[in-house]
Every structure is written in C-alpha cells, then in structure tokens.
Amino acid sequence: MTQPLKQHLIDPEICIRCHTCEDACPIGAITHNDDNVVVDADKCEHCLHCIAPCPTGSIDNWRVVTTAYSVQEQLEWLELPEQQDILATTSDSADTQTENADVIALLAQAQQGAGEMACAPASATRPVQNLFTQSEPLRARVQGNFRLTEQGADSDVRHIILDLSNASFPYLEGQSVGITPPGTNQNGRPHRLRLYTVSSPRTGERPDTNNLSLTVKRENHGLCSNYICDLKRDDMVNLTGPFGSSFLIPNDAQTRLIMVCTGTGSAPFRAFTMQRQREMAAINGSMKLFFGARTPQSLPYFGPLNKVPGAFLDKHFAFSRVENRPKTYVQDRLRADSSSLAKWLIDRKTYIYICGLKAMESGVEAAFFDIMKGADQDWQAVKTEMLKDGRYHVETY
C-alpha cells in the first residue's frame, strides 16, 4: 500500500475565484482556469499561508488519498469528491481484516456503556480511520515522556509525546491509536494490540505541530503500558489508526459538554478542552469537568488543569483517599452540582462524555437518575434522546 497523503483541496462550489490564495501562496502551488482555483499536490507544502485570507472558507478542505487528485482533474470539478474509504480500498488482506476485527471488538467493548446506538455528534468533523495498519504502521518518534503523577503518588501516569514527522495522521480528539509492543508471545505470535485515547487536540500539542500525545498509566505486569512508560526520547514506536468514529466533539460553539472521568480517562478531555480553547476561546460557561482520583498528587494534569480559567471550564475534583477527609467520588460531585446539571441535562445542546474505569459507570448514571428525578424528569427518556442525537458517549475499560 502506498503511503496515504493528506491532500489540500479547494471546494469549487464555495470558491469565488478571487485568487487571494494564489497571491498568498509563497511557492506558486495554486493555479486556476476560468472555472476553478486548485492546489497542486506535488507542490503544496501545507504551510497554510492561504487559509486565513480566503474570504469564503472554500480553501480549508482536505482529503486523505492514496493517489493525489491531479490539477487537471480538479480544474474540471463541479463539486468536491467525498472522502474515500481508505480502509476498504487499500487493505483487504486477511491479516488486516483480523486486525480490524480486533480493533472493532476493543472499541465496542470500551464503548459498551453507550450501547449500539452510539453515534457521532451531528456537527463533529468526519473522522478518518484505519490509515495505518499493523502490517504497515506509522513509525513515530518519541519526543518526550513525562511523569504526570508525583514521585510519591501511588500510580505512575505518563504523558508521552509522539512526533509524526511529515506523515499525515489526521486524528481528532476522542479517537484512539493502536500500539503493539515489539516481540512475540510464548506462542511465537505478535503481542495483542492495545488502544490508547489521544490526549492532544487535532492540531498537535502546540498549534500546527504534527504530533500527538498519549496518557498512559503503568500497570503491574502490563506488557504494553510498561513498554510505553519506559520509552525514551527518540525511540521509535509503531502506531496504527486512527480509530473510533463516535466519541467525538461537536464543532458547534453553542453546545455544552459534561465530561466525567477518572485517572487516565482524562486523556480525551484534555484534548477536548485544548481544542475548544483554540477554536472557541471566547466562549465561557460551556464545559464542565468532573474528575476523580485518589489524591491530588495522583490526578493527571492537576497543575495544568488548575490554570484553565473556571469560567471556561467548570472543574469539579473528587478525591477518594485524602487523609482526614471523607471519601468523595465523581457521582458525589455530580450530585453537589445538581441544580445546574438539571438544567444542562434537559438542554438539547448538552453532550455527555464518560471515560475511565468501568466501575464508575453505574455510580454516574445513578447520579444522573437522581438529578433528573429531582427535576421531575425521566433520566431514561433523556438518555435515549441523547443517544439518538449522538450526545451521550461512554468509553470505559
């Protein structure tokens, strides 16, 4: 399979042929005829100089392709082609199919809590999936490996940054990547793949850096987690994915997010928060985070989270092992916020995301049930509506 390419395209239905982009392009990669203005994939270096001056928004279109659309082809377009299913057209070997079945099974298991109805928010960006497979993985370089929990804390959680170099790996917040530790098991077969949710926003750790981060907890006897937590700078890792098509955020700025997590379940919410900070920094009061850990020392990202203004992200921490303090769990914090949550839950602009240990699910649901009951509402009905609209998402393990 040839390396897939993220191709920059201009939507001919929206473009008004003002040629502003052509003037902005420093290397002459944009050209036109009487009908269309198009980007030459052989020349474009993705510098993005052309994006901001475009008066129409037609410039900001991308397709992942195995063979680039030629200039001639584009000049004749009346409309943009749909994103082709790269998986279906490029990988049909038996091995890949088994591997896909593995990924599907793992994701289905993780997202069981939302049931079979789980679907993406209507305004979510359409995700690209399965670009890189185990037979042809993406080689990513370790850019950094930082311990997130304090040295004395009872868990070792790592923030791993992987540099994607020049590769196109268009992931979205909430999607996962697959990592298989090197070597074989006792039967001489490769190890099983593990999925990790990306914890950086789509544009990278810093805007427009082509990298991604993972949040990984070292598990006793965990083959893959120990492999990842021991990675050193400049080590190379085989990545597959991106995976996942429903646990995504809406692009609609009017929507509100309730995020509930424990431990490394915070990974997607770090990405959600950063993405919204980049795209909708001016919008306050539209995100709530309920985050449970044993102690502040073992809560990943405790420091950076505290720097996010409360007006932008309404934070509720629950600690279950702080000396001389009663044990508090996320469901307790949910109940404590019930008057505000009751209003949010019945608002059709509200999206719920639950991520972390499977054990938390029932407690969280019970809290939602009580909050709704207190407001004379039926939680089951509310939840069914949310599921139908792609507004209720669960990823637990």
Partner: protein, 483 residues
C-alpha cells in the same frame, strides 16, 4: 522603525505605516476622526450600532494571520490604515516611465490627476455604506446581517485608506477633499456622490447581492488597476484593500446563488417545472427566475457605465503616466507602453454596431471593462450550474454591452439584451420584460421580512453551505440589541 507586518495600536488609529512617528498626518487624521464617527452614526447601518457583531478585523497584513474574528459593536470597530508590505525595488509597470523606480512621493506633474483618481475611488466607499444603511431591518438571517455589516465596516475602512493617501500626500487639498468625502451623500440632490450607480437605491437584499456581485466587482477592477500604480503608496493600499474586497464578491455571488437555490428547491417541491409560471412561483414565497434575470440586467448595466467612455484620453493619460495600470499589468506579455498596439472597441454608428480597432492606449477603459465582463461571467456560470442540478430549464445571461446604457457609445441606444437593435418605441414597450418594474420591486419587498433567530433563514433564501470563520449553522452572528 515601525513593524510593517503587524498593526500598531499605539495611536487611536490602528496602522502599519508608523503613524505615531508621523505627527503631522496623525494630527490631521485625528482631526478628521470625529467627523468620520459622526458620519458613521448618522449615515451608517441604521438601528444596529449597539448590537454585537461577529466581525473580522485586520490585525496584520501578513497573510497567515491577518484577520481576527470577534464580537464588536460597529462604532468601536478598529478602522485603520493598512498598506501591503513594500516590495523592494518595485518599478513603474507601465507607460512612459516604465522600469523607473516606483514613486514614494507624488510626482508633481501628475498631482491633480492622481488626486482625482483617489477622490473618485474614495467617494464610492462611503457611498455604498449609505446606500445599504436600511437593509439591516429586513435581513433574511443573522448570518446575512453579519455579512452586510462586514461589507459596511470594510467599505468604511477603504474610505480611511483613501483619506490616509489624501492627508499624507496632498496637504491642504487633501484635507479639504477628505472633509468633502464625508459631506457628499448618496442620492442627495444637492451633494450627490460622484458616480451614478452610487446614487441608486439598494432597496432590498437581492439588490444588495447584485450590487456586491456586479458593482463591487467594478470596485475590484478599479482597485486592481490602481494596485498597478507607479505611485507606490497607492499601489500598496489598494493591494491590501483587494484582500478585503474579495469578501464582498463572496457575499454577492453566494447571496444570488442561495436565492436561486431556494427558488429551484421550492419549484421542485411544488412540482413546477416552467420557470415562467411566475404567479405560481411567487405564491411559493420565492423570487421567480425571470425577475432575477431582470435584476441582473439592471445591476450589470449600471456597473458597465462605471467604467466610463470606451475611448478616453483621461484613461490614456493615466496609463501613460504610470498612475493607473491595466488589470494584472505585470502578468501581461507586451511592451507595457502600448506604443503601436490597437484594441477592438464597439461603436454605434447610424443604427449599426461596429467593431473598430483603436489605439490601445485610448481603449484602457474598454479593456478593463472586458476583463470585468469575463470576471463577472464566472459567477453566472456557477449560478447556471444550479439550474442543471435542480433540473430546471433556465439560463441566466449577461446582456449585450449596448443594452440599457447611459454612458459611452451606446448611451440611450435602443438595443435589446441579445444585442438586436430595435426601435425606440419597441424598446419602451419591451423594457418591462428586461428591467425590474415597480411591481417586481413591490413583490420582492413583500418578501423582505427579517429573521432574527440564530440558524434560521427567510423563506426566499437557502442557508449557506459553510459558516463564516468555520462557525456552525446556528451560530449567533449578531447579538441584537434593539433600542
């Protein structure tokens, strides 16, 4: 030294021309500023000065980060003076000074010609704001309302751009001209704006879209020609204005396109396939396609008049002196002096239309107008693609250059849209089929009901395919503040 990429906010007037160290000009502009704000309050958008509008403000002339989007009350918009970066070693691209270094100061011999060009360009900018000031009350959506206001604040910034040139380079004359720009008024009987099309009313939103498509496109072509000027500050200011002007073209092209789309959808839903079944189509609450053609005829022909006489010695002088170039002058492959070149120009002699080759130097206006027509045809082609998409047999056509003209060789000639010469009597009789009548206007007016709810659109227009600044469909582009 001033940072020439990023905009400095150390004076009341945002700028990238180092105003804070140019006391004389700063003082002159600050003196002009209150009068400008009075003009905006009195002649700018009526009734929305307190609303928060999601506008883009230019914060840099560097393409990568030039605009910033945020909510702002229009009177607090940061109008400023922004010039595209100076191109090192730029030379005069045309005329008898071809190849000489571009002027950084006004060349004395061309002073009055240059001043007149700047004043005419400057006069159109506030004029369009005045023409559009009552449209807000009938906006078909908050999205459209926002686009109207974006066009308005940017036209007003273009006034600033021209006033800066006047104040900086034309001394006392420049100050007087700057004041006059705020005194003339679109449609006024005593002190009208300088060009005809800018004294016409913009009574409804279809007119607004047609105006931004056809008339602002004349503005674009004029700016393109002035961007080729050998007077470098004028070239630089026009180059940056073009970046903003593109948005206005966008509003026009998509506005007309969305109107057509809604009409086609409504016809399909009602099972009407004949676009000339006007009464039935109007009963659906959408604008019938023949009426859209009439509006096109009107706005296109008014805009053709803006290019002036086909053969013009003024235009020849401006080109020859290097003050104003042709569209994309530097990309044209010729001598850039037009010593012996000819250009075909239409003539109307004894009831006949003839094509005659005239010295290209005198046909500068004609050439720019031809480039304009070609540019305008692009959008018409897109609109026509919509009819095919909805399976409706109809085609919008740009009328013949001789149809309905007030200026140039065809002024007053009885020529049909297809170019046929007819009798004056026949023209009078048939003009109702070609140009919007009062009844057509009344019908369109009857559809002009405001839609203030986020994400909703009046019944005669389709929603846009993408939001401004990638915003979702129900984004609140204007937070209304009703006095």
């Amino acid at each position: 030294m001033a940072d020439l990429m990023n905009v400095s906010y150390d004076t009341l007037i945002p700028n990238n021309v180092g105003l804070s160290s140019d006391r004389k000009v700063l003082k002159a502009l600050e003196k002009w500023h209150p009068g400008y704000l009075d003009w905006w309050q009195g002649q700018g958008p009526d009734g929305f000065q307190e609303s928060l509008v999601y506008l883009r403000t230019a914060v840099s002339v560097d393409p990568k980060g030039w605009a910033k989007f945020d909510y702002v009350k229009m009177p607090q918009y940061r109008w400023g003076v922004l010039l595209a970066p100076q191109v090192e070693g730029r030379t005069i691209p045309c005329g008898e000074h071809l190849g000489e270094p571009a002027w950084q100061e006004v060349p004395g011999e061309y002073r009055s010609m240059l001043r007149r060009l700047v004043v005419i360009q400057g006069d159109t900018e506030p004029a369009s704001v005045e023409q559009q000031r009552f449209l807000g009350a009938t906006a078909p959506s908050l999205y459209d309302l926002r686009n109207l206001f974006q066009v308005n604040v940017e036209e007003a910034r273009h006034l600033w751009a021209m006033v800066y040139i006047l104040q900086k380079y034309f001394g006392k004359d420049g100050r007087e001209e700057s004041a006059e720009l705020l005194q003339r008024q679109s449609g006024s009987t005593e002190k009208p704006r300088m060009l005809g099309a800018f004294n016409e009313a913009t009574p409804d939103w279809l007119s607004f879209f047609m105006f931004t498509y056809f008339t602002d496109r004349d503005g674009k072509m004029q700016l393109e020609a002035l961007a080729q000027s050998g007077f470098d500050p004028l070239s630089r200011t026009c180059r940056f204005m073009l970046t903003e002007e593109a948005h206005h073209m966008f509003v026009g092209e998509t506005g007309v396109g969305r109107t057509i789309q809604r009409t086609c959808e409504a016809m399909n839903e009602a099972g009407i396939s004949d676009p000339y079944d006007i009464d039935k189509i109007r009963a659906l609450g959408v604008i019938d396609l023949p009426t859209i053609q009439k509006k096109l005829n009107l706005h296109y022909t008014l805009s053709l008049d803006l290019f002036g006489a086909e053969v013009s010695t003024n235009a020849a002088n401006a080109f020859n002196s290097g003050i104003k170039g042709r569209y994309q002058e530097v990309k044209i492959d010729d001598d850039h002096r037009l010593k012996d070149a000819t250009y075909p120009v239409s003539e109307y002699v004894d009831g006949e239309i003839l094509l005659r080759d005239v010295p290209a130097l005198t046909a500068i206006n004609m050439r720019l107008r031809d480039d304009y027509t070609k540019d305008a045809a692009g959008g018409v082609k897109r609109w026509n693609a919509l009819f095919r998409k909805y399976n409706i047999e109809f085609e919008l056509i740009l009328p013949h250059e001789g149809f309905h003209r007030q200026i140039g060789v065809f002024a007053g000639a009885p020529i049909a849209p297809d170019g046929t010469i007819i009798s004056d009597q026949a023209w009078q009789k048939q003009s109702e089929q070609w140009l919007p009548t009062k009844a057509d206007g009344d019908f369109i007016q009857s559809l002009m009901k405001p839609e203030w709810e986020s994400g909703r659109y009046a019944g005669w227009i389709a929603p846009p395919r993408v939001g401004i600044d990638n915003k979702p469909g129900d984004f609140e582009y204007v937070q209304l503040h009703m006095a």
